[in-house]
């Protein structure tokens, strides 16, 4: 914790020095202290708070739906080879299509601003969870599975009692990756699709006035949101997978 603060402070100092060195135009790239001051002022800006809550809604909702789709699907595909085989070409075809390009198409199908962005977020956040789930199921110790099998447990019980718990940390890592991606896509979608609220919509307004300081201040808040979400997830990981962390002994 202390070290993290030290590291962050060091980086800030360097950035500030660069900003003041005159290498870049302060209007185009204001010094970090100006940005932080602007970020601080945004806390009391009711308009910005409404934008944050819009972003949170889309981000959280999209992520939740993505996990609810991807984790069961990953388990299903991880355990039903025939289905996996058939669906794989489609998955691999769809995965590299940028969700932001889909915005106009989704817009047409969905007369609901948060729904549009949420759909785009789901599309992007599904993949890491899906893939990590499939990888995780593959990485289960065969001796552990054989143990349950020898006690006469069926494949479903083995899935529930061995494969899922031992794949869970892996799935969770996928969720962490997806969380970051979902936030990124939320903001990107707001930037590209506009809409009534959202940090991205706020950024469009800031850009219009060439207010780089406000724009970057909003970016700082995005970083803070992502940071907080990750901190929560890491805690949850430590708590839920104590056996995993302890057994492997950490570094």
């Amino acid at each position: 914790m202390v070290r993290g603060v030290v590291g962050a402070a060091g980086l800030l100092a360097v950035a500030e020095a660069l900003g003041r060195s005159g290498l870049v135009d302060p209007v185009l790239l204001p010094p970090i202290s100006t940005v932080l001051a602007a970020a601080f002022q945004l806390v009391v800006n009711p308009e910005f708070l409404a934008d944050i809550s819009g972003t949170l809604t889309v981000w959280g909702g999209g992520l939740l739906v993505a996990v609810l789709i991807a984790a069961p699907l990953g388990v299903l595909l991880g355990t039903l080879p025939a289905a996996e085989l058939a669906v794989r070409p489609l998955i691999e075809f769809l995965r590299p299509i940028p969700s932001v390009v889909l915005i106009p198409l989704v817009t047409l199908l969905m007369p609901w601003d948060h729904g549009i962005k949420g759909t785009v977020v789901v599309y992007a956040a599904v993949w890491p969870v899906l893939i990590n789930t499939m990888y995780g199921l593959r990485d289960v110790d065969p001796v552990a599975k054989d143990t349950l099998r020898s006690f006469g447990f069926g494949e479903l019980a083995i899935l529930r009692r061995v494969s899922l718990p031992s794949a869970a940390p892996f799935v969770f890592t996928g969720v962490r990756v997806a969380t970051a991606i979902a936030l990124i896509v939320t903001i990107s979608a707001e930037l590209l699709a506009g809409g009534a609220d959202g940090i991205g919509a706020f950024m469009i307004r800031a850009q219009s006035g060439l207010r780089t300081d406000i724009m970057l201040a909003a970016t700082v808040w995005t970083g803070i949101l992502g940071f907080a979400a990750n901190a929560v997830l890491v805690r949850a990981h430590r708590w839920a997978f104590r056996w995993h962390v302890t057994k492997a002994g950490g570094a």
Binding site: D25, L191, L192, G195
Partner: protein, 306 residues
């Protein structure tokens, strides 16, 4: 966003088919009339509740109009005509929004650039807000006037206006086509130099954007449309005559600083809708190869109520 299901109730007294409408605008001065009308209660007088929404691009707006999540949007004529020709949808212009004037769409180069005039742009990188848009048309017209081929002589770089000043200063691009307030800003802050005003000659007083809905919408909600037209017209009127009124509403939906707002150049806010004037857009688009054939704009225009 807007909620279509709850808005179909008929308005009290006024007999409107719909009392609550969503309208999309860009975060620039061009569409300030709607905020003026909003602020002065013109919509309320008509029994309308308007929910403005900021939109970043035409392609993000069209689908929302088509699926009914937006009622009206301020869209560039260039885009409307193009979409109409491509049969993306059937659109109606319900009122004029913005028209060019001198010194609001200009080509700028960095302070110490060797480029002196439009001719000097040959082989250079020129940024425009997006490809296949009014920007390409306007710069193209200037190139043509200077005796260059608009399609081959420069490298087009699509770059949103806000990103252009930085790109210009870092030398990533050689010239930028900009509008206000970026134009004022970039001259003030980094000493960029204007080499040409693109809204001259064939482009003088060029129509820029209108208030647009779909044909289906116009047919379904004629009274609502008329109410909107009456209110926005009053807004346009004030915008065109009272610069201070425009400056006053800018902070509602942009982050333009007051000092910039006070000095930036503004275009015209037309109060009538003239087919002859807007036909110029289609004709010029055809001339520069942005349309496949002759296009008549008259069917797109909805007469203004008296």
């Amino acid at each position: 966003g807007s909620n279509t299901t709850s808005t179909s109730s008929t308005g009290g007294g006024s007999g409107l088919e719909k009392t609550e409408i969503s309208v999309a605008v860009s975060a620039i001065a061009d569409h300030s009339a709607i905020y003026i009308a909003q602020e002065r209660g013109f919509f309320k007088e008509e029994g309308l509740t308007v929910k403005p929404e900021i939109t970043p691009s035409t392609i993000a707006t069209l689908p929302k109009l088509l699926n009914g999540s937006l009622d009206i949007a301020a869209i560039a004529y260039f885009g409307v005509i193009h979409a109409q020709e491509e049969k993306t949808g059937d659109f109606r212009v319900v009122a004029d929004a913005y028209q060019a004037k001198e010194n609001i769409f200009e080509i700028v180069v960095p302070k110490d650039s060797k480029i002196q005039d439009v001719k000097g742009l040959e082989g250079k990188r020129v940024s425009i807000a997006s490809l296949g848009s009014i920007g390409q048309l306007a710069v193209g017209a200037s190139l043509k006037t200077a005796g260059l081929d608009p399609n081959k002589s420069v490298n087009w770089v699509p770059l949103p206006f806000p990103a252009a000043p930085a790109a210009l200063q870092s030398g990533s691009i050689d010239a930028a086509w900009l509008t206000e307030p970026f134009l004022t800003n970039v001259q003030k802050e980094s000493g960029a130099r204007v080499i040409a005003d693109t809204m001259t000659g064939s482009m003088a007083d060029f129509p820029i954007a209108g208030w647009v809905g779909t044909a289906e919408w116009a047919k379904k909600y004629p009274k609502t449309m008329a109410a909107f037209q009456r209110a926005i017209l009053k807004g346009q009127q004030i915008a065109s005559s009272d610069r201070k009124a425009v400056e006053k509403v800018l902070p509602n939906y942009t982050q333009i600083k007051p000092d910039v707002a006070a000095v930036m150049n503004l275009g015209t806010f037309p109060t009538s809708l003239s087919a002859a004037r807007i036909q110029r857009v289609a004709d010029l688009m055809l001339e520069y190869g942005f349309l496949k054939g002759k296009f008549d704009v008259a069917p797109l225009l909805v007469p203004l109520p008296q």
